[in-house]
Symmetry: C2
Subunit: 341 residues, 2 copies
DNA sequence: GATTTTTTGATTTACGTACATCAAAATTGG
DNA sequence: CCAATTTTGATGTACGTAAATCAAAAAATC
């Protein structure tokens, strides 16, 4: 049986009240006594029964999710997963609130973060906009002992405790290798459709993609990036235009959202040519396109996993517990038409 | 706040003791009274606080893992993950025991299962050997209300509550498409290395692989399967022999274990030719081979996820709780050298 | 050494549930 | 309607921890 506070008290030769004072860092314990207790804790290998403690405290975990107000399938999916998590709140003792901030607006994000420092949630998950002032605000909150995880888009160089999202450089590299290998010996040009080069995840995907293309597939040239602003209409226009004007395009990499427009353009303009297409994010549209061979592979991050992982990590950090690293690694899913879920 | 037993008692106009009798299906409650309580439970949306209940009961979850005594990297990895889970036992209230049975031996598996029915663990996870008598034994245990999940290898058509493993037909299909697409327009023969055609997961992978090959890549012919018994030495011998004798081989699909031998054979015999190779299971050896381009892609199932998922599902079933389906789906990982963890 | 201050002990209640006991009430059978 | 039986209520203890109170002991101060 695992030791309890009573065992610690007995072993350290002190009362239960003193053990409690040490465990919950309450004042009024002499240094030597504290050490006695801590030694007993170490020697008996005591670990607090979190379930019992939470029961006694009536503890809940007030968590805040900060999301950009973007109107695309991925963000809708992410929102839906958070709502699912809210439904599980009572069983998980969480109390989840979402805050929407204008997309790509560091100042707005910073001001929300600053407000939160007064509200005292026990954890914050945010889709980070990559800017120095955001990094500073996050670092400040971390120093004030708020558990913070970045979600989907990381904030490299900040003090955030954890990143619940995929490695976007690796994603771009993987896309490049898949595209290059699928094209085999064919030479030609590659169109890249992104949302915006102002977003870190898109920049990173492109960076990885371009690197592998340059290293390993010299026969394939990347055309200037089309910035579709994650908007289906804009994407459609840009891709249709590129395909009309450039007969040398043999492949397309869509690293952002707005794939509905991409798919429409492909169906209109590429019926007569063999195009290899790799896109990000599995949605109803990209799934259908994968099945009817319009798209050849889909790279995906599972929003449900990201949300659940963020919650687990925030709770663990709030309790000062360890996380299972391998469990919290968000994997890049590669879907061909054969392994769709 | 979520309702407690007290709220139910008040709402149903009965005492706490009666609510307890209903909740824990103890005898001595009239039918009408039981209905009153059940109505109150439904109307207030009461759900038992599992943490508090476990505390009161001093409950632990005695779980049994039944594994084949196979000496290959994957099984070693699976064992290691179970040991990790054992380390978390006290926090998770589990009490995990593993039983090794001879591989590919239905009778041995059945006799272990029958013993377990006396021991009364609260959940059983087994790597199933696909045989009618095993299916019957599992079904019997399920009828006796034991939660049972299959691990890594399923038992289709049985009553097991859950399968914690990948869809092997999809895995085979995916391997075929990757191989076919990587080979592009090249024609030739494909060598397939399996462990044994007596194991269901290997049969299924081959089935999926052969189906897609036949449908979509008529230029590629599958050679008779090499059965390496998941043994590196045997695998080496078989592959080396096949490569020496058949100059038309352009691709290899290794769907079982024993990849150490495969890799050695490839390095010895295929230096002068361009071979596309897809293998299963990420190990130190296959990882190195992927990095040095001996292997082109690795399909993997994450043993850690499988073990953790099996435990979560067994605990949930033991408590009669729902599982998060999407969370428990074991995904097929596809690794290129760019997205290695 | 007396006084103040700090530290420690003893004890209680609470969290939500499980489980046991005994008495009281209601129902059933004859 | 009485007795036997079944059903229900009231109550207490337990699980492991948190948190509070008050008294007692020890240490520090002068």
């Amino acid at each position: 049986m695992r030791p309890t506070v009573h065992d610690i008290a007995a072993a350290a030769g002190v009362s239960l009240a003193t053990v409690d004072r040490v465990l919950n860092q309450r004042p009024g314990v002499r240094h030597v006594t504290r050490e006695k207790v801590e030694t007993a804790i170490r020697e008996l290998g005591y670990v607090r029964d979190v379930a019992a403690a939470n029961l006694a405290k009536g503890r809940t975990y007030p968590l805040v999710f900060i999301l950009p107000a973007s109107d695309n399938s991925f963000m809708h999916g992410l929102n839906a997963e958070i709502r699912q998590a809210v439904l599980r709140s009572s069983a998980e003792r969480t109390d989840i609130r979402t805050i929407e901030v204008p997309a790509f607006d560091p100042a707005a994000l910073v001001s929300v973060l600053e407000e939160l420092s007064r509200e005292k949630p026990c954890g914050i998950a945010l889709v980070a906009t990559d800017a120095p002032e955001v990094r500073a605000a996050v670092d400040r909150l971390v120093r004030e002992r708020f558990p913070i995880v970045t979600l989907v888009s990381d904030l490299t160089g900040s003090l955030r405790h954890h990143y619940a999202g995929v490695d976007n450089i690796a994603a771009g590299r993987t896309a490049a290798r898949l595209l290059g290998r699928f094209l085999g010996s064919r030479k030609g040009e590659i169109a890249v459709l992104a949302g915006s080069m102002l977003v870190r995840d898109h920049r990173e995907r492109l960076e990885g993609f371009a690197a592998v293309m340059a290293e390993e597939f010299p026969g394939l040239a990347i055309l200037p990036v089309l910035e579709g602003r994650d908007d289906p209409e804009v994407a459609h226009m840009l891709v249709a235009d590129a395909l009309s004007r450039n007969a040398g395009i043999v492949g397309v990499y869509s690293l952002g959202a707005g794939n509905r427009g991409l798919i429409r353009a492909l169906k209109e303009k590429a019926v007569d040519r063999i195009l290899t297409v790799i896109a990000h994010e599995l949605t109803a549209h990209t799934r259908a396109a994968l099945i009817d061979n319009t798209i050849d592979a889909i790279l995906n991050q599972d929003a449900g996993h990201e949300v659940r992982s963020a919650i687990r990590v925030l709770k663990a950090k709030a309790d000062g517990l360890a996380v299972i690293e391998a469990q919290e690694r968000i994997r890049l899913d590669i879907f061909l038409k054969d392994n769709l879920p």
